[in-house]
């Protein structure tokens, strides 16, 4: 079981908000300081390792930029959203960010709540309200990559790319 303090975001949170254009060309560390700077300035100073993002519909719409890496580097332990944009989901797999779809999650959590995620039972629970919700299972082969640090370690292990 994983648990994290909840930060709430709305519908259609786009990749440019998580990774603003001018930071595309900076280091991954610098990119992580710019997350949500245009819609929620100062958030990166408040977020703590293991925290959770709860999003609305179409979380991560937009570009192929590695926004999921920035969230991981901010310490986000897992992300739950009503629906997740397909390209953002790919990058969550690629960069090892646990991200799952969960219908009803926006209404079930307030900011500051704790979310308890069980990816064996594919359930999430709000201990404040006692409410539990089903989480859409991530297919096993993709989950393995998400939890194993993403795709780079796989390619390095198979001798296809150089180790960092």
């Amino acid at each position: 079981m994983r648990s994290g303090r909840v930060w709430k975001f709305g519908d259609n949170i786009n990749t440019d908000l998580m990774l603003p254009g001018p930071f595309l060309y900076r280091s991954a560390e610098e990119q992580a300081t710019a997350v949500f700077m245009n819609n929620r300035p100062g958030w990166v100073n408040e977020v703590e390792p293991g925290d959770t993002i709860v999003g609305g519909f179409n979380y991560g719409m937009g570009s192929s930029r590695p926004a999921a890496r920035s969230l991981r580097n901010c310490g986000i332990g897992f992300l739950l959203a009503e629906t997740i944009n397909g390209l953002f989901f790919r990058n969550a797999v690629n960069y090892g960010l646990l991200a799952c779809e969960c219908a009803g999650v926006s209404a079930a959590f307030e900011e500051g709540d704790t979310a308890e995620l069980d990816i064996d039972a594919w359930m999430v629970r709000n201990p404040r309200s006692g409410q539990t919700l089903d989480v859409s299972p991530v297919p096993q082969q993709l989950l393995t990559m998400m939890l194993g640090g993403g795709i780079y370690p796989v390619l390095a292990r198979e001798g296809l790319i150089a180790s960092p």
């Binding site: 060309y25 280091s27 519909f57 179409n58 590695p66 690629n94 390619l155």
Partner: protein, 421 residues
């Protein structure tokens, strides 16, 4: 039970008899396109093996010619990589330069019935070529280049049956704005376009519509094949291919009918593309600082022809900047030969080299604080084209050109009166 076009292509590329929504398909990639940003040091790793160099394409597009030393270094890395593995299809700064999706169209690299991946999100552009094309992340590209494969979650498909033809002065961008306004996002869904109306759309117009599918948050966006497409590809790419039609009994999440003759010119209001379209008249009179036509979706020769037609013999309003960026240098040369570039320049427009440029807020048209822009490009997100306080309206090239002349948002209807569709 039958399959949609996307399902049939994925099944074929996965070596399976069928795939269905919910499956994860691991498929053979026919074309893998890397871009300049693929070689940023934070994402790129030294590659030790390439599955098949003849299936790799490299196009420098986001920042060309290099505006920074870092952009130049990305290209050095890419050139060395291409040399090491014998990758011949390298589109460097020069006559073959362009935005990857448009280069892929110019050269017909996207083969009907096959799978294509590209590190840029607007890759579903190649769906106009009956190609299952998807924008993927940088790491996915390393996976595709080194293994020759990619994975996809198979989504449900929304089918659009197109009928009729657009009226004069109305464009494929307006079809997109209509769909985005009426039906909103298509998260985790594929889009399939077909029906008798597609015959009235040029390949460029179809590509505008498929490119913008990214902004509907769709997975694969694909057109049925027709003779126009097959002849275009055969004339440019010697590789064999087999186009794919949907099965008669394909299962769709929903079928929607769209009469192209009913489409009106629309504008998307700032900060979001979906569920944000209004008629041009509702925002007419909004003062603008900049008008932009370009990007992968709207820098086609058709788009430049429309822009030239609107501004011919007229002048861009004082105090308004009008920037036009062809999608490829091949289009740029064709527009020169057709006189479009001269017409645009005489009206006061700046015509830039082919690049993603202002659309991605990279260079050649970045917006300052509180500026207002009307753009025929891909996105109007907050901060997309520069300062986050800038406001970006999105419309068709005709509407953008008419607005450039007026110095404020304006419809283009008067420039097309008397035309027949």
């Amino acid at each position: 039970m039958g399959m949609t076009i996307t399902e049939k292509i994925l099944a074929r590329a996965a070596g399976l008899r069928r795939v269905a929504p919910g499956d994860v398909a691991v498929v053979d990639v026919e074309t893998a396109c890397l871009i300049d940003l693929s070689f940023l040091p934070e994402g790129w790793r030294r590659v030790l093996k390439v599955a098949d160099p003849s299936k790799v394409v490299i196009v420098f597009d986001h920042l060309v010619p290099a505006p920074t030393a870092q952009a130049a270094e990305c290209m050095q890395t890419a050139r060395a990589f291409a040399r090491e593995f014998g990758i011949e299809r390298l589109h460097d700064v020069g006559p073959d330069q362009g935005i990857s999706h448009a280069v892929i169209a110019d050269k017909a690299y996207a083969l009907p019935g096959t799978v294509l991946v590209n590190a840029d999100s607007h890759t579903c552009s190649a769906g106009a070529f009956n190609c299952a094309a998807r924008g993927v992340g940088g790491p996915d590209m390393l996976y595709a280049v080194t293994t020759g494969k990619a994975w996809f979650r198979v989504g449900e498909t929304i089918r659009y049956d197109l009928s009729g033809a657009l009226r004069p002065g109305v464009s494929a961008k307006d079809i997109f704005l209509t769909i985005a306004g009426r039906w909103g996002a298509h998260v985790n869904q594929n889009i399939e376009y077909g029906g008798p109306g597609m015959a009235s759309m040029s390949l460029n117009a179809r590509r505008t519509l498929t490119t913008m599918g990214t902004e509907l948050s769709a997975e694969f966006v694909i057109f049925e094949p027709d003779d126009t497409l097959v002849e275009y590809v055969k004339a440019r790419n010697p590789k064999p291919f087999t186009p794919v039609m949907p099965d008669d009994d394909a299962t769709y999440k929903e079928r929607r009918s769209l009469d192209l003759g009913s489409i009106e010119p629309l504008v998307a209001l700032p900060d979001a593309v979906v569920n944000n379209s209004v008629g041009v008249s509702e925002v007419a009179g909004q003062k603008i600082d900049q008008a932009f036509i370009g990007a992968c979706c709207n820098g086609t020769l058709d788009d430049l022809a429309v822009a030239a037609r609107v501004v011919r013999g007229r002048k861009v309003a004082a105090g308004t900047r009008f920037i036009v960026t062809p999608s490829t240098e091949a289009i740029h040369r064709a527009a020169l030969a057709a006189g479009y570039v001269a017409t645009l320049m005489e009206a006061g427009a700046i015509v830039t080299p082919a690049t993603c440029g202002a659309c991605v807020g990279g260079h050649m048209g970045v917006l300052g604080p509180n500026e207002v822009c009307i753009t025929a490009s891909t996105r109007n997100f907050k901060g997309r084209m520069g300062d986050p306080s800038a406001r970006i309206y999105m419309a068709s090239p005709a509407t953008v050109a008419a607005s450039a002349l007026a110095g404020q948002i304006a419809g283009a209807g008067e420039f097309f009166q008397g035309d027949v569709s």
